[in-house]
Symmetry: C2
Subunit: 229 residues, 2 copies
DNA sequence: TCAAAAGTGTTTGCAATACACCCATGC
DNA sequence: GCATGGGTGTATTGCAAACACTTTTGA
């Protein structure tokens, strides 16, 4: 521990806003803090940057240490610097955001964590510190992202129905979309590969499943597009 | 100086990417460094954050101290953290960007600065440290900004012609636009107030001058729009 | 009268929207 | 056979794009 703290940059931390999608709801990954300040409250996974790593590297490490979530892409959002944002001393925090499929990640509390859990984004969450602000900022980024880059690959299971994808968009943007127009648009990108597989065990006509064409998907990540409603 | 350095957060700095528009060219404000490292090279105005200020406050202070440019709006862009980005020790730097009208700001070198000057963005600039990367990131942000929010108020004189405004857009995006379509589009926002004033002393038909309707301008800043070509 | 930039409208095509009914499945 | 969600096509509208000539002014 003394060795670890020697390497830490004590005034610089990372907070991770990790979004998931499950049961047709947008979710957020939170950890329960083992120690003070704000012991026992549910907070964004976070920690201090080490002298030997970049911020991107720190974000990946910290998320894994807190929650066991690994091998994901984290993107820097904003750096928060309110003077009293952390009660013990001046700490500036760099926020990262990520999208993952909850099904694919086994959660395990880390060293300074007593629990890790998914929360629905639309339930009221009492955040400690300035985490409410950080979360809002990340959500805003997500909403902007969904309009300009394809999304879903990271949030959905490998095989999914168009309705699932539409639900994801509707959850993120918090608005309803026309089914026919949505399908027309999303299929026109040629980013989805229709499979010869269908939903099973549902009490209605089974939906066709699709997967992403990762080449085309990547292509649109690079080029961007303009997805309206 | 010892008092000042006591207050400094020595591992956290700000770098400012300040854009201007003059003679139909997009410009960048650089300072000439008085001391090592990279003494005498032209660099982004920067400095260290104080313990008593937020990042936004630091950016404003640092830009003024470096260049005398004041009373402007600076927006956070990204935080840079390459481990060897600063040669003397580990320093993380938060980049800010701003848009100003060069005519409205009298430049004056600051304490650690021997000179301040506008450079054209399309000339090759040899940046020290990771300033090339920071600059590129800010330019990208500017290009994205120009598509989604009105721009120009901060970069142009109070009264300007539509051609000037179009030139600004063309410089930022580095592409040519159709004059009629540009005018149609920009006027349709009802963001410009036509004046009963015209260019003077030009060897051709004098262009009508306009100014921004600051209420509508602000409205579009808040709502955003989608400006294509 | 010439050069140089200002100013102005119309047509065309594509893409966004709105909209309603039949289909397959499990119970 | 009914409830549940899956799946499909067309007509309309509005916006983006392409495009060329006349006007004004100073030199």
């Amino acid at each position: 521990m003394s060795q670890v703290s020697k390497q830490m940059i004590k005034n610089l931390s990372i907070d991770c806003v990790v979004f998931g999608f499950e049961n047709n709801k947008l979710e957020l990954l939170l950890i329960k803090r083992k120690s003070n300040p704000s012991k026992d409250s549910w907070a964004l996974p976070g920690g201090f940057v080490l002298k030997t790593e970049t911020l991107d590297e720190a974000a990946v490490r910290i998320l894994e240490e807190n929650s066991n979530v690994k091998n994901i892409y984290l993107e820097q959002v904003h750096t928060f610097s309110r003077i009293d944002r952390f009660p013990l001393r001046r700490v500036i925090s760099v926020a990262y955001f990520a999208l993952i499929d909850p099904e694919n990640h086994f959660l395990k509390p880390g060293v300074d964590t007593t629990d890790v859990k998914w929360f629905q984004v639309n339930e009221k969450i009492e955040f400690p510190f300035d985490h409410a602000e950080i979360f809002q900022r990340a959500l805003k980024r997500l909403r902007q992202r969904v309009r300009t880059k394809p999304i879903g690959f990271e949030l959905l299971p490998e095989k999914f129905s168009l309705t699932q994808l539409q639900n994801l968009y509707e959850c993120i943007l918090d608005e309803n979309m026309d089914k026919r127009n949505f399908r027309k648009r999303i299929l026109s990108y040629n980013m989805l590969i229709p499979l010869d597989e269908y939903q099973e065990g549902v009490a209605h006509r089974a939906a066709r499943l699709y997967k992403f064409d990762s080449k085309e998907y990547q292509n649109f990540i690079d080029k961007g597009f303009n997805f309206q409603l």
